[in-house]
């Protein structure tokens, strides 16, 4: 048997072995390997990392880092604010939020909290700082301009005005 032939059969044998090892070893190893690459889901979907939490009575507002879309992405830059837990929110929420942490409120966000989780949400945002875009009766327009309920939080994404 020639060396090339031996190598061929060895590789084929190893392939069969890899198939047998897949559910017990390879699958887990490969999954962990991919997870360890340090990848993250695009912030246009995830909303970016949380940077601060403001306590407001029984509920709190999580403020995320502003998200800047990539070059040709069709979304605007935005900042995500999460109100949680939904069960502690009043029937009508109207909060002035200091988004950039300079001690002055930047936006006033107002929305109703329906009891039925499936009722569509609408939000009004008054811009107290020209850096933020006002929103009137907005639902789920785009990833950068919306109000949605996700699990036990109500998320509002306020577009930023390009500077």
């Amino acid at each position: 048997m020639k060396i090339r032939e031996k190598l061929g059969y060895t590789a084929a044998g190893l392939t069969v072995l890899a198939a047998v090892l897949t559910p017990f070893v390879l699958l887990g190893r490969f999954t962990k390997g991919v997870a360890a690459l340090g990848l993250h889901v695009d912030e246009v979907y995830s909303g970016g990392p949380k940077v601060r939490t403001v306590k407001t009575g029984a509920y709190s507002i999580d403020i995320h880092r502003p998200v800047s879309p990539h070059l040709l992405q069709s979304e605007k830059p935005f900042v995500q604010l999460d109100w949680r837990p939904v069960s502690a929110l009043p029937v009508h929420v109207s909060d002035a939020v200091d988004v950039d942490g300079d001690g002055r409120p930047d936006v006033r966000v107002s929305f109703d909290v329906p009891k039925d989780a499936k009722t569509p949400l609408r939000v009004n945002v008054e811009a107290l700082n020209p850096h933020y875009e006002a929103m009137v009766n907005v639902g789920k327009e785009r990833f950068s301009k919306l109000i949605v309920r996700v699990d036990d939080a109500i998320l509002v994404r306020v577009p930023l005005v390009a500077q």
């Binding site: 061929g8 392939t15 890899a18 999954t31 993250h40 889901v41 695009d42 979907y45 699990d151």
Partner: protein, 390 residues
């Protein structure tokens, strides 16, 4: 220099004995029982029965492959079952969990969009350049709808690709079975003359989608062109744009997965459109298994060329004794060749010296993967049907 090949007479092959076929099936039988042992322990009666039926189904098909020496004929039963039962199980899960096949924005933001293998080639460049995954799912297991997550699907794809290369398209893809089933219905193709340049279609779609995904930072194929959104989940039609997207999905599904396979008896979506299939072709170079044409036996009658569902054989490639890199190792050409000139082959070995050894090694590896991945999906779909109807 081209040499005149000496044409040998066809080898007459009698069926393998039942005892020998059973012996050869034994490893796969044990493997199937091992893989489905978990479903036997589930409290749900439908899951138990579905697991048992699937295990028996996979064993029976492998036994027939051993007994008849035929691969394609029996593999097709598995593949069509996978193509039909995947949407059954998937749509049922989606409807139970969120009540609609449309993906709401909330689910995307929560990272709960199920991740299939199709966008894998589109995610590589953005991930390599910016460490960003341009898909509204979750990286880690436990967050996706199936509990898998993006890393798990990547891991599964890596493992199966390592084993079968482009054979993914014959033993693992849970979409291709629909068109393979449709293509097998008519006796004769009504549309026989197909311009061979259509073969470059998947590469063109792949290039366009990779560049678009990088430029727009979105999984462009999933957003605009995936025909299988019609039988899995689609963009929730919130506006005109959403309606247009869904219209494209349905038109592509009807055209490429139903009408054209019926007319041509080819897997037209796979052969002329699928960017994942084109990407997967690259791994035919790394796979040790391939199909060769034994020039000493080939007439050539081009029966293999006509039988190939992805047009991976041309007169030139047959003359050279090769298949094109888009060959997905389905075995249609091997089954149809009256002279047994189309043979399974292990790289580095002599062509047609021990083709059955090559077939057995490929089948043990590929069928082990098929039982583990496709078999589990079949069992899930079957359990859904049993649960609903019985």
């Amino acid at each position: 220099m081209a040499t005149e090949a000496r044409i040998l007479p066809p080898r007459v092959i009698a069926p393998r004995t039942i005892g020998r076929s059973v012996l050869l099936t034994l490893p796969i039988a044990l493997w199937s029982l091992l893989i489905f042992s978990n479903s036997f322990r589930q409290p749900s009666r439908s899951v138990q029965i579905a697991g048992l039926l699937t295990a028996v189904f996979m064993m029976a098909l492998f036994f027939m492959m051993m007994r008849t020496w035929s691969t394609y004929r029996w593999r097709r039963w598995f593949f069509v079952a996978l193509g039909i039962l995947f949407p059954v199980g998937f749509i049922h899960t989606v409807m139970v969990m969120r009540g609609t096949m449309g993906i709401p924005m909330e689910e995307m933001i929560a990272g709960r969009t199920p991740f299939c293998f199709m966008p894998i080639p589109l995610l590589i460049l953005p991930a390599a350049l910016t460490r960003t995954v341009v898909f509204p799912g979750s990286i880690l297991p436990g967050a996706g709808m199936s509990g898998g997550g993006i890393a798990a699907m990547f891991g599964l794809w890596l493992a199966i690709t390592l084993v079968v290369g482009k054979g993914w398209c014959s033993y693992a893809c849970f979409f291709g079975g629909i068109e393979e089933g449709v293509a097998s219905v008519p006796k004769l193709a009504k549309l026989r003359k197909i311009d061979p340049r259509w073969r470059y279609g998947p590469w063109a779609v792949l290039l366009a989608m990779v560049l678009l995904s990088l430029a727009l930072f979105e999984p462009a194929y999933c957003m605009w062109l995936c025909p299988f959104k019609a039988v899995s989940e689609y963009v929730a039609a919130r506006n005109t744009l959403g309606l247009i997207q869904n219209g494209i999905f349905i038109a592509l599904f009807a055209g490429l997965v139903i009408v054209l396979p019926w007319l041509t008896k080819k897997r037209t979506q796979c052969a002329f459109f699928c960017p994942f299939g084109a990407f997967q072709s690259i791994f035919n170079k790394t796979s040790v298994f391939e199909v060769k044409i034994d020039r000493t036996r080939c007439s050539p009658c081009v029966l293999c060329q006509n039988a190939c569902p992805t047009m991976s054989l041309t007169e030139e490639s047959i003359a050279q004794g090769n298949t094109l890199m888009s060959c997905m190792k389905c075995g249609a050409c091997v089954d149809v060749c009256p002279k047994h000139a189309a043979v399974w082959h292990i790289k580095g070995t002599e062509v047609a010296v021990k083709p059955e050894r090559a077939r057995l090694m490929l089948l043990y590896a590929a069928w082990a993967m098929a039982v583990m991945f496709g078999g589990t999906i079949i069992a899930q779909g079957l359990a859904t049907l049993l649960h609903v109807f019985i």
